[in-house]
Symmetry: C2
Subunit: 219 residues, 2 copies
């Protein structure tokens, strides 16, 4: 499959499309118009058409999209036929909630190891996931060939642990701490900063009011 | 203060700038160059200068930025002198973690009420926050003049509860469910879809490798 460099905004919408197509397929729907898809995923149809165009012509004007075709296509793009194991570092309140979060529902992702400094938790199984002491970090990540880590440690521990993760060969970090961690160029960081998300919502309500639809321009 | 319509990407970075400036001020730093700021918040300096330019010229070439000036400015923009009360609906694992999440640290936000269907939780105080039964939703939101809700309910309950929230006069929803909820045009929704964030990270590692710096173009 020929691949083009797609915009980050498009890549972010792919899992959304995939999940909804999965839902449609499960409910027996075989065809969907770009208007219906737009309504369901709350992305305007021009953006949907542009997103899809990066992967070649997937729909026919006046016919819409074939659900199974699209589903097969996104499944391949998103590597959904392969299980991705990730680790979670820091089993506090948020970490614990994420262990219980169903990442697998429409995404073939599994947290297969947790790590924590707390000796009361390390060595136990929490929500089905084995929790190891921090001293086992490098070893376990290597043994389990884990390249992606969810980081839910206290802010003041974030950079130190990030350095350890980088040394252990991690390629991607989903960073839930408010710290903007420093990593070498070959490590990818996805920041999920909950306070900032909430503050952005408040800012927009204070200043502008209602939701705009999802477009590249304002995202 | 004259206000321009700023891009969503800029608005999302304001809390980040604000938090870092707060940190600088607390540590006694009075001046910062745009290069230092760029390093710390991981946003390229051209983007920082452009972001700041929406609010008028805030720095001087060759001198950098005055920390206290910037801080005062962002404090006003972000309404940090006023406490914002929000509610949380759905006190499950994730909801509970968010009750413990320190939204106030650098952001003047407080979860002042929780709501849940579970009679074992409703009527209790969890992590300092009173939890009310769903039947009290409209009443409590009105009494506490809450306009913003964090939604952490099961997916199949999300749309029904959203409709109730809209009826109760809510203006903003931070949606943690994977469902793209339907709301009237005057209600703003901020989606925080954890599985999608993680899948986007995996997608980028599979296809392109390392992190790009934060710019409008690829966000």
């Amino acid at each position: 499959m020929a691949e083009t460099m797609i915009p980050k905004a498009t890549a972010k919408r792919l899992p959304l499309y995939y999940r909804y197509l999965n839902f449609l397929a499960n409910s027996g729907t075989t065809k969907i118009s770009s208007t219906e898809l737009s309504e369901a995923v709350k992305v305007d149809s021009a953006t949907i058409r542009r997103d899809f165009s990066y992967f070649g012509a997937l729909g026919k004007r006046g016919y819409g999209y074939d659900v199974m075709d699209l589903l097969k296509f996104f499944k391949k793009i998103l590597n959904q036929d392969r299980l991705t194991n990730v680790a979670l570092v820091g089993v506090g309140n948020l970490g614990h909630a994420l262990l219980n979060y169903n990442f697998r529902q429409a995404n073939n992702i599994r947290i297969s190891a947790g790590f924590d400094v707390n000796p009361d938790i390390a060595g136990t199984i929490q929500s089905g996931v084995p929790i190891y002491p921090m001293s086992d970090l490098a070893d376990q990540l290597r043994q389990q060939q884990i390249e992606i880590v969810i980081l839910t440690v206290p802010t003041d521990a974030a950079q130190g642990i990030t350095d350890d993760l980088v040394k252990a060969g991690i390629k991607g970090i989903m960073n839930f701490t408010p710290l903007r961690i420093s990593v070498p160029g070959y490590v990818r960081v996805q920041n999920v900063d909950l306070a900032t998300e909430l503050q952005t919502l408040i800012y927009f309500l204070d200043h502008y009011g209602p939701t705009l639809k999802d477009t590249d321009e304002d995202e």
